[in-house]
Symmetry: C3
Subunit: 137 residues, 3 copies
């Protein structure tokens, strides 16, 4: 049993940049030499999200339409120091979550045919960071 | 310390089939001989969800009413290759999550009085699969 | 490698009491003597949530406004044995989740500058309980 820990930096291009990080997590799993266990990916930010979903722009567009409906960007919010885009970004993170867990089997991430790990930027161009922890045998 | 890993297959009857899987996860915890640690249940699909909630049809109905309000099934979506039911299924998974973690104590899942582990089908009758990983002592 | 497990009790003052529990989790991490790994915090209830977010009342107010919009408290729901506040509490838990995971590095929680661990009461004044599990080296 061991723990392997690393960090990834994610350069985001701005609002609604959805970045596939599956390969980067897979690489860290390989480096860990852990065969069987769990991988955890945790964002260190409050206006980003990490999800497991299909990498398909039409699914992303449907998500953005849903958010625009329930969290319109042109509304006045309470948390307005950095504007309404920032205010709704916090709420999007609350709804989607800021971390994922993925099983590891035979030294590889266990993901379904359509599953990818996605880092979602909901604020502005930033250098973001996530901690990757692999625990197992 | 050890890791025990298994899979469960879940035959779903179709849209909005909410299936209690608590006993199946408990059985795998028993087989693992792990006394203290964590259990992780991860769906391999993008149109299902796994949640911890009370097993009560009125709670499920309230969830479906909420989803119908914010993600109406008769609307046209972007992700329409498999119809609007499929399009909203992806969004429901994003909001609810596709995995849960449960503490393990004295060789058993630690769940509150009203908590059950539920596998939620949001698309159509399918054979679904989830990975169950127990890590601990 | 080891597992350290503990519980925290959280006395909530009632509906929408948002309680920072970061220090209490940090303390348990310290007691665990685990340097590198993961911390898991799991609520044992179905009408509370645990999230990682900035401790800022304006963000909380925006969350409550969003919930009032999509889950109005004056509506009649199906799950009405304990009233509409209870009915929507279950749905809020479904959307926000009832557990969080946090990496542990050098014997401390790894949290971003703005991140806190928050226990959210969505029903009434209660003594609540969460299990804290630390796994690592």
């Amino acid at each position: 049993m061991k723990v392997h820990q690393d960090r990834i930096k994610v350069e985001t291009k701005g609002l609604n940049d959805f970045i596939i990080i599956t390969d980067r997590i897979e690489k860290i799993v390989g480096e860990s030499k852990i065969n069987k266990g769990m991988a955890f990916v945790n964002s260190l930010h409050t206006t980003t999200a990490i999800i497991i979903q299909e990498n398909d722009p039409t699914i992303f567009k449907d998500m953005l339409d849903l958010f625009e409906k329930i969290l319109p960007s042109n509304k006045k919010y309470e948390h307005m120091e950095e504007g309404s885009v920032n205010a709704v970004a916090h709420q999007k993170q609350n709804l989607l979550g800021n971390s994922v867990s993925i099983p590891v089997e035979e030294g590889k991430l266990v993901l379904g045919r359509w599953q990818d790990i996605l880092f979602l930027e909901f604020f502005e161009p930033r250098q973001r960071e996530a901690v990757v922890t692999i625990i197992g045998d």
